[in-house]
Symmetry: C2
Subunit: 364 residues, 2 copies
């Protein structure tokens, strides 16, 4: 298959960039976006970089009614030498394809998608923030565009990549959050779409988050939908526990999302000689570990925060304070190491970084 070339239609009127101080997540967008169109029988076509502009869809477009849409999230970082760096972008596009498959949507060509992203980043290079801790958030997404009210996979789709300059997740350095264990609502269940990065999972989660916020908690901890006892995720992050020296994370089970930060931490800890145990872990076990003083650290992992230490868990009104509400040594070490690798301040021993400028070659 020959790779179709990308067409460029660039704007002369660049937007004024927002101040890099106090950048709010997901509010500002750059001057251009990447688009490709899919038509069943013909495949992906019209790969192009065009001015950022509204999407125009028939009111009967399947994405509005039956939710055929998946997305990804990753970041571009500006290093001290002004090079622009991506963290494992190939993993995002692999997962995009797994999500697309679950939703009966057509796969994208991963190499072509990364090429499109790199070309878009070249066009938008000035948008990659310079202030330490800031980055350019990258949102690839695919939507079903066909105008048809029958419940069936669409025959036409669009693949977009949009870019948004964002501030640091931690305004005043990494700090622990308080988490409410959710007993009423369920994020996902085996056999559902929890393993896919698709819209419905996030819509479903809003109600629980509303309650948690009202009670002063920053996120919910999801339990499994079958027995309501095993830990799944925290908010939209994966979760890790350090119990009596052992690092444990819920095993991939068909309902949790396979986070790329999760995967990287597992690989990094293995590289350090301290393998992570992937298995089921129940709230009872956590409570017992807490009671015996063995629950040493809890932290969430995701693209936005990298590492989000948990200082408190509320399980049915039982408050479990973790590590005296402070960031644990392992959480801190993982956060520092990952962010330094992302920014080029530490050796990329596991070859995770794709560097954009000046040579576009894979380094590390």
């Amino acid at each position: 298959m020959t790779t179709p070339k990308i067409e460029f239609n660039l704007t002369d009127s660049r937007k004024q960039k927002p101040s890099e101080e106090n950048l709010v997540f997901g509010r500002h967008f750059t001057d251009h976006m990447f688009i490709a169109d899919y038509v069943k029988g013909t495949g992906w076509q019209n790969h192009r970089i065009v001015p950022y502009a509204p999407i125009s869809l028939d009111p009967a477009a399947i994405v509005f009614h039956y939710g055929q849409t998946v997305f990804e999230g990753l970041k571009a970082y500006r290093a001290k030498d002004d090079s622009i760096r991506l963290f494992r972008p190939e993993e995002n596009f692999k997962r995009l394809n797994r999500s697309l498959d679950r939703l009966c949507m057509p796969q994208v060509d991963e190499e072509k998608a990364i090429e499109g992203l790199l070309e878009l980043l070249k066009v938008e290079e000035e948008w990659v923030p310079k202030l330490e801790g800031n980055s350019l958030y990258i949102r690839p997404f695919v939507i079903a565009t066909e105008a048809f009210l029958g419940v069936a996979p669409a025959t036409t789709y669009q693949f977009y990549i949009i870019l948004s300059p964002v501030g640091s997740y931690y305004e005043e350095g990494i700090h622990p959050v308080k988490i409410l264990v959710e007993n009423e609502f369920v994020r996902a269940v085996k056999g559902g779409t929890g393993g896919a990065k698709t819209a419905g999972n996030y819509a479903s989660a809003l109600k629980a988050q509303e309650t948690a916020t009202a009670q002063g908690y920053s996120q919910v901890m999801w339990l499994d939908g079958v027995e309501r006892k095993y830990v799944e995720e925290v908010g939209s992050m994966n979760i890790f526990f350090k119990i009596d020296g052992e690092v444990i994370t819920p095993a991939v089970n068909g309902s949790i999302l396979e986070g790329i930060t999760r995967k990287s931490i597992i690989e990094l800890l293995a590289h350090w000689g301290t393998p992570v145990t992937e298995r089921k872990i129940s709230m009872e076990e956590l409570a017992a570990a807490h009671a015996s003083g063995k629950l040493e650290e809890v932290f969430g992992t995701g693209t936005a925060a990298v590492i989000s230490p948990v200082g408190e868990l509320n399980w049915n009104g039982k408050i479990m304070t973790v590590n005296e509400g402070k960031t644990g040594a392992l959480s801190k070490k993982l956060y520092d190491t990952l962010t330094k690798i992302q920014l080029g301040d530490e050796e990329d021993a596991l070859q995770w970084v794709t560097e954009l400028t000046p040579s576009f070659v894979k380094i590390g």
Copy 2:
């Protein structure tokens, strides 16, 4: 609260209507649509009827990423006297509000929504098909329009009603379908969004439907996500069983959709003096009833088909033929009664019909 008035912006260039023979479901749309806008703090505003036209949204609109969208489906029927009739529209807008609540979206004013629908139908009266069995499908839906990549309820929404002339579900009269019992995939689980009419539930269901279609089955039968033994729904219909004279349907449990046809059948059978039992029903019980010759009828219920008799169930390769693959007497009687009430050919004893022409008064 004063009810804002509806503004009209009507087109002079009406589309050519499709032939009423072989109308495909959900492919053709009328000349106009109803829209209202929501802004947090101000509420619903700008209620208007405008030409049917594309929706233009920022690529970061929340509906594309986090699936905040709910919908409804009902039909307008043309009676022999040329009046236009709606079946329990108030139930659809009540359910719309329940769905909106689950998805952290703002409620609509039900009366105002019905008024908008009736005004739209007056404008589009000529689009209500005349051929027996055809009808005008009505699709109200609400989408989150705010351009924001944070996972949080949107602060802006749009409410649409679009209309589509559709053919009879049964081209050659009511006939039984073959159903594959689904063991791998799950539609919904308690604590999730199964009880809401929201996009994610339908996206999630496509994969199982793909397998069923490939094996020659028209729909899947969903089992519960916890024990994987109790019947939930069939495709996107509710399901009823007649076992040894008793009519049984799965009880509302937080994961099945509360169908309006389901509700109507329960009420109609109660009116006839044969109450429906709403309870859990397992595949083991169905298989035992089948083995002893007591599984007399199985039928799905929904807006599209009204009643869809089931002639065969395939459970892990075990084939259960129901009523020799023919439409049962009760299925037929319910289908005939409901369609006659909808069309004004039978007394509307339970006051279900809203008549549009000439007086817009509630009849029956």
